[in-house]
């Protein structure tokens, strides 16, 4: 049956060591084609722009990324129509983004950040200025990447997980129901 909800990746701070392998993997897969980024350091000619953000906090660290909200504040805030829902996922079109920051302010997770935009191995300049053009960078769930989200695959500690919310809810429902078998005689 067709999926109704967007999937998303979540991190686990109890496993994360802050190695940033996820950020590198994210940058690499999103720039392989458009910016010729290969497997070695020398091939990187553009700024490293990830779509998830390793975050250190008082008790540890974990990557934070987009939840692909179903009533997405970023999408609703974008007046340029640069953010839309494609196959249940919330996707930014960097070509349309004018860098107005409305989405950044709307997102309660800090999952969107304006970062330099590069094409064909070079950063792109703004029209009428020498300054670098930016775009709202956020997780697109590796929509065009075979094998699914690179961050999940790259993490050496299995600290990232792809969530299918509908399937997960059903699994938890079953556990909750079967727990009733234990409690039914001891209300």
């Amino acid at each position: 049956m067709k999926k109704e909800l967007g999937s998303f990746v979540i991190g686990d701070s109890t496993k994360c060591t802050g190695c940033k392998a996820c950020e590198m993997a994210c940058f690499t897969v999103h720039n392989q084609g458009s910016n010729h980024v290969g497997k070695t350091v020398g091939t990187v000619t553009v700024p490293v722009v990830p779509r998830l953000f390793l975050t250190k906090f008082e008790y540890g660290c974990m990557p934070i990324q987009c939840k692909h909200c179903e009533n997405a504040p970023c999408l609703n805030a974008c007046t340029k129509g640069a953010i839309s829902r494609i196959d249940n996922q919330v996707i930014v079109d960097p070509e349309k983004c004018i860098g107005c920051k409305d989405c950044m302010q709307a997102c309660p997770f800090g999952a969107v950040t304006l970062l330099p935009y590069a094409k064909d191995g070079k950063v792109v300049a703004q029209i009428g200025s020498n300054e670098t053009r930016v775009f709202a960078s956020k997780c697109d769930l590796c929509k065009d990447v075979p094998g699914g989200p690179a961050c999940v695959r790259a993490c050496p500690h299995e600290a990232l997980r792809l969530v299918d919310p509908e399937a997960e809810r059903e699994e938890k429902n079953i556990k909750a129901a079967e727990a009733l078998l234990l409690t039914k005689n001891w209300r």
Partner: protein, 181 residues
């Protein structure tokens, strides 16, 4: 303490009358007259059927709700012995659904409401114990086998008190069997 509805798998026959009862009471009686494509069919409880069990699962209205803690926009709150969602505030981020260990929250579309790009607007949906509805939870009322019941503070507190009395009595009898009936 918060109240909650509990299903008894020994009585449940998996018929899902509760799910429809839930929808009808939340949408209102006009649902039987409106355009068949214009209403929401979003039951707030889910029937689970495995080889061992049939029973509906719904929100337990936890005392330290994980959903509430996970919500980034403070759309979940507690009031009048229940945990409630303000769907106007909800951004559909699924954090509450991920946090809930029972799978009691799902994210549903609301008929007639759209997002900026025209896609469906979906928000969190869960049992509200039929807030503001006379007669209490509809699922309890419509169940043909009386498999559902509302558990209140009194039920739970009273039951615990009784269990403690029983445990104490048993412990005493172990030492003083001669006093037994």
């Amino acid at each position: 303490m918060n109240y909650f509805v509990k299903g008894n798998p020994d009585l449940c026959i998996g018929c899902r009358t509760c799910m429809i009862g839930c929808v009808v009471v939340h949408e209102g009686k006009h649902i039987f007259e409106v355009d068949p494509d214009s209403y929401n069919f979003n039951p707030r409880l889910h029937m689970v059927k495995t080889a061992k069990i049939s029973v509906p699962v719904q929100c337990k209205h936890c005392e330290n709700p994980a959903c509430m803690a996970a919500c980034p926009v403070q759309a979940i709150y507690q009031e009048d012995h229940r945990v409630l969602i303000n769907t106007d505030k909800c951004i559909g981020c699924k954090a509450c659904a991920t946090a809930c260990p029972f799978g009691a929250i799902d994210i549903v579309s609301l008929a007639g409401t759209r997002q900026a790009d025209g896609s469906e607007r979906k928000v969190a949906n869960k049992c509200d114990l039929c807030n503001n509805i006379a007669g209490g939870p509809a699922c309890v009322r419509v169940c043909p086998t009386q498999a559902l019941s509302l558990v209140t503070e009194e039920d739970l507190g009273g039951a615990m008190e009784k269990k403690r009395m029983e445990a104490a009595r048993n412990a005493y009898m172990e030492i003083h069997p001669q006093n037994g009936g």
